[in-house]
Symmetry: C2
Subunit: 202 residues, 2 copies
Amino acid sequence: MADPAGHEIDRLIELMSRLPGLGPRSARRAVLTLLRRRQTLMDPLARALAEVAARVHDCPVCGNLATGELCDICADPRRDGSTLCVVEGVADLWALERAGVFRGRYHVLGGVLSALDGVGPEDLAIAALPARIAREGIAEVILALNATVEGQTTAHYLADVLSGSGVRLSALARGVPIGGELDHLDDGTIAAALGARRPLGG
Amino acid sequence: MADPAGHEIDRLIELMSRLPGLGPRSARRAVLTLLRRRQTLMDPLARALAEVAARVHDCPVCGNLATGELCDICADPRRDGSTLCVVEGVADLWALERAGVFRGRYHVLGGVLSALDGVGPEDLAIAALPARIAREGIAEVILALNATVEGQTTAHYLADVLSGSGVRLSALARGVPIGGELDHLDDGTIAAALGARRPLGG
């Protein structure tokens, strides 16, 4: 392919095309949009990226992304310090925050156990967890791991590690998602939803 | 929604979500990917954006994007200076360059005539065109405008403007696109392809 607009632009397109959801074609469209809106979009985006790249680090307490010394959740005194939600990654933490009902704090593992990918307990933020529970006087740990084989393996491992700590352990409920149609759900979910069926008033 | 990771990240997600092809959800995924790959993706992208934003401007000759004084095409002495291809915008120029067969130079109008959107000839790079043709000794002008009502209106207007200049005028062929199925093509394309049918050897 010819190089109609200079290698700086090609390099920008190449970098943009590495983002999830953007292929080479949509990366090109995105860069053209940026070039058309240099003052209102390209300059602010360049500044925001540089600022975030310079300031964001992992929260030393929970592993969430932070721009201050602690992340906004660990730094917020209104959060309930007695309940800790263990998640695989920051994306899951964000998803739980969007749901807007959990008011406790988090512990980000940074992955899940996986023999296939060679991820062992020492690769995850597990060793610090018992000490954190004791130090912060945590009463309940919610294992909010994904309903995958690796997620559930990790949950079992954590339940073992924490079994002697006197903390209350729980996991997210299994069932039919809101809007879910039985016809499109897998057998495991239907079995779980049946097993955990709730009595209705009357 | 809570603000789990600081408003700098929210601002970055908001800016990313303004790019074509990225909604709020995929912008969030893109930013998470960037945050996971700070050294290998986020820093280079921030630098590439800042560099392009600082260096890119419109080529004073043809209107293409340029990082040097002239764009790479106007600056390339191997391009055929006798053939000029008139396009609506830079995206069309890139599309023609990707096809890799045109070796002349370009003239970017910066839009098309549109009574509806209030775009008149004075809003496009039309006034400079006759002088450019004379100055550069251009023999043929290819009107490579989109096959839309506005594109064809603009092509007719340009044909009028250039009628006395002695330059040879042409337009892109109409026909069945490669891979095109007649059943899915509009009547206008089929009529054009019939009218411009080519004799086959024999």
